[in-house]
Amino acid sequence: MQRVGDSIELRLEIAQPARTGARVVFRLVAHNLSSRTLELHLAGREPTFDVVVSRSDGSMVWRRLEGEVLPAIAHVRLLAPGDSVATLITWNRRDARGRAVGPGGYFARGFLLVDGPPLVSPEVPFEIPSS
């Protein structure tokens, strides 16, 4: 078995909202790129993903796990070559204070919490349409 390093890729996919009021759906996929089985030590009893939405100036709009208290357990998960761990996260387009987020360009980044620094996806731009 190989420890996680550069062998795992975290990808964030965004289903662009069709209309201004629609929720935003994020899909996070952690994929084993290597030819060996990886032993992941994931934070939580189940894989725990986070998403951060930011404006173009870098200011944070919303964080899925903001204010959450997570049990500090680690889950041992074996990921076979080519296998993935994935989840869907739905955002109701409200910021941390519950205010509706207006139309415009935003950026999202995904995280998979492990028993060390989290795995981080590349930043992905998306649009919230004006109508």
């Binding site: 934070a43 997570l70 049990p71 500090a72 357990i73 041992v76 998960r77 919490l113 028993d115």
Partner: protein
């Protein structure tokens, strides 16, 4: 051992040179010294072969060496009191005191981490059950039952006893079941508990040790320093006291924890008696304590569940104050159940040394 074989090879070459010059008047000086030296080395080697096992079998000994360069045997001991036993053993073997030196030296230890196998077990080390990793918080005696305390969510089912079996550090490294879950109170509804949720005042469970597994009560592994990320165990904290009374800790109180993921971390109490919803569950833990490091250091990570929480009273003496169970997603805040609430729910126990 230093180059003994090379030393002998040199002696053999020297002897061959002398034999080849048998008709030559044997010169005095160097060749005679070589012969004498060769004899001494052989005597030393013979003595070393006998002395090494005899000396290293004695308590307080660290190493045995045949220093060919100095032409002496050298024995390392942890403390001066061990010297008498070493001298007695060597005298029995007929080894004169001029043939050896005894030196006091640091003991040699394996560089073991919180994630390695420890026997006897101590607080802060890794435990494994099912597909999960947690931390052994601390050893405790519940009446006559030798036990350890960890989190309720570090059992197969959070709330209720189902006989979770624990391994240390993992079942792969050692398949011995070190302990079995024997206490994990059920969560309650109503009363102080928010509607639709279930509650407890501590995220604690107790596991009873197998009779063949050794444990040390009152010891918590320590690493080189707080908040430095090191997992290498360099010593132990001693639990000399346990706080069975405090629910509301003073804001700013410095507390520590030792866990298998982030090691020894330290922070200050920022909130007390907080009713806390556990993420992705319908569980609320009532009257919990929040801790953060003022500098924003990471103080908790996945796998630290069950960690001991303590105050340092002096040197390596500590007072046990609670049991860690969770933290925020960035790891800069950890949450613990006060020890009083742990004992209120799983019963009185003794965790001091």
């Amino acid at each position: 051992m230093r180059a003994g074989a090379a030393g002998r090879a040199a002696v053999v070459v020297a002897l061959a040179a002398v034999a080849g010059c048998a008709d030559t008047p044997q010169p005095a000086g160097p060749e005679t010294d070589v012969l004498a030296s060769a004899g001494r080395q052989d005597q030393m080697s013979a003595w070393f072969a006998q002395a090494s096992p005899a000396v290293l079998a004695l308590a307080g000994t660290v190493f045995a060496d045949h220093d060919e360069g100095a032409g002496k045997l050298v024995f390392g001991i942890e403390h001066a009191a061990a010297a008498t036993g070493v001298r007695t053993a060597l005298a029995r073997l007929g080894i004169p005191s001029s043939a050896y030196d005894i030196v006091v030296t640091e003991p040699i230890r394996y560089a073991a981490t919180l994630r390695d196998r420890w026997r006897p077990t101590i607080g802060g080390i890794q435990i494994h059950f099912g597909q999960y990793l947690c931390t052994l918080g601390f050893n405790a005696d519940d009446g006559t039952e030798r036990s350890f305390i960890t989190n309720s969510h570090c059992t197969n089912t959070q709330g209720g006893v189902e006989g979770t079996e624990y391994f240390q550090p993992t079942s792969t490294v050692d398949p011995t079941v070190i302990a079995v879950e024997v206490e994990d109170p059920n969560y309650f509804r109503g009363g102080a508990c928010p509607r639709g949720r279930k509650c407890r005042y501590s995220d604690a469970s107790r596991a009873r040790y197998s009779s063949t597994v050794s444990s040390t009560r009152g010891s918590i592994a320590s690493t080189s320093g707080p908040n430095n990320g090191s997992l290498e165990v360099t010593g132990t904290f001693t639990i000399t006291a346990q706080d069975n009374n405090t629910t509301n800790f003073a804001i700013g109180t410095t507390v520590n924890k030792v866990g298998r993921t982030t090691g020894w971390t330290q922070g200050a109490v920022t909130r007390t008696c907080v009713n806390t919803n556990v993420s992705s569950s319908n569980i609320t833990l009532l009257c919990q304590t929040f801790v953060e490091n003022p500098g924003g250091a990471v103080v908790v990570g996945g796998g630290d569940s069950g960690s001991n929480v303590f105050r340092i009273t002096s040197g390596s003496n500590v007072e046990l104050v609670g049991l860690l169970w969770g933290g925020n997603s960035s790891g800069t805040l950890f949450v613990f159940s006060p020890l009083k609430q742990v004992r209120d729910e799983i019963g009185a126990f003794v965790a001091t040394n």
